[in-house]
Amino acid sequence: MARPKSRIWSGRGWSYLRLFVAVGAKAKAASAAFWSLFMFDLSGKTALVTGASGGLGQAIARGLHRRGAIVGLSGTRRAALDELAAELATNVHILPCDLADKAAVEALIPAAEAAMGGVDILVNNAGVTKDNLFMRMKDEEWESVLSVNLTAVFRLSRACLKGMLRKRYGRIIGISSVVGVTGNAGQGNYAASKAGMIGMFKSLAAEVASRSVTVNCVAPGFIESPMTDVLNEKQKSGILAQVPMGRLGTGAEVAAAVVYLASSEAAYVTGQTLHVNGGMAMI
């Protein structure tokens, strides 16, 4: 019988092929172990990110997903969530929720637990601003900001504690803001909500530390976003004059802080606020 002419089909070719396949299979089996040799591995962990339809939330969801986490994307703009979910492709769940609606907030954690099998990491990232001079600020402007930025964070964090205590593992992270610590003219409501988050999380951190659940804030400074994209040059240089690093931060740089706090490497860090602000405020 005539042997195939191509070298790959010769006896030796087959054995190369077989070797290649065998090495590939081994590598695949070893890859989980291989990746876990790196720091900040989140494989198998479940993470719920609110405001995942927004600039920072997307970066945070991508960051956690890249480290191996199963992510739940929450927000109200379904199309933006769908788009991100399509990009991430696997290990992703869409969990729409209006955080201004008490009943919807109460349903979110149970829905996330049902979809992902638990919530190991909660990232409270959704936030709104309704700026106004203090003297002109309407009750409605105060209440709507506090309700999304603080009350919803309280309710979501409370709801995921049961699962975390039971597991003796949990990471609750809040995206606060530099202005929660420094204050900012025109943002009395927003600054109150972001400072409130820091005080609330320190208290919760003290309560659950003995159960290996950590609770921390990340406080971004000026970060590139659709909001900062529309600023003109003069406005931009005014902002940058306050930042020693002379540039805006990126979503990925905020996400890196979140990934760190979510990781098991950060197990001994709790009740803290990690500032990601290019040196804008050194506190």
């Binding site: 049961k162 205590l165 039971r166 309560e207 659950v208 003995s210 159960r211």
Partner: protein, 79 residues
Amino acid sequence: MSDVAARVKKIVIEHLGVDADKVVDNANFIEDLGADSLDTVELVMAFEEEFSVEIPDDAAETIVTVGDAVTFLEKATAA
């Protein structure tokens, strides 16, 4: 000892890591068994799981001794 009492005591012994002879009906979780306030919340969670019942917050606050838990759960599971 009723079946409920035995299951309650087993949970308390395991969760708080205390000697069985200390887990008597009038033993107060915090004062006698060294529980902290979070332990009491976790005990209630464990009871809920073991007996497949829901213990509302206001009822949970009245459960301060082993006997309280047994009484509550005997009623709840008889219903």
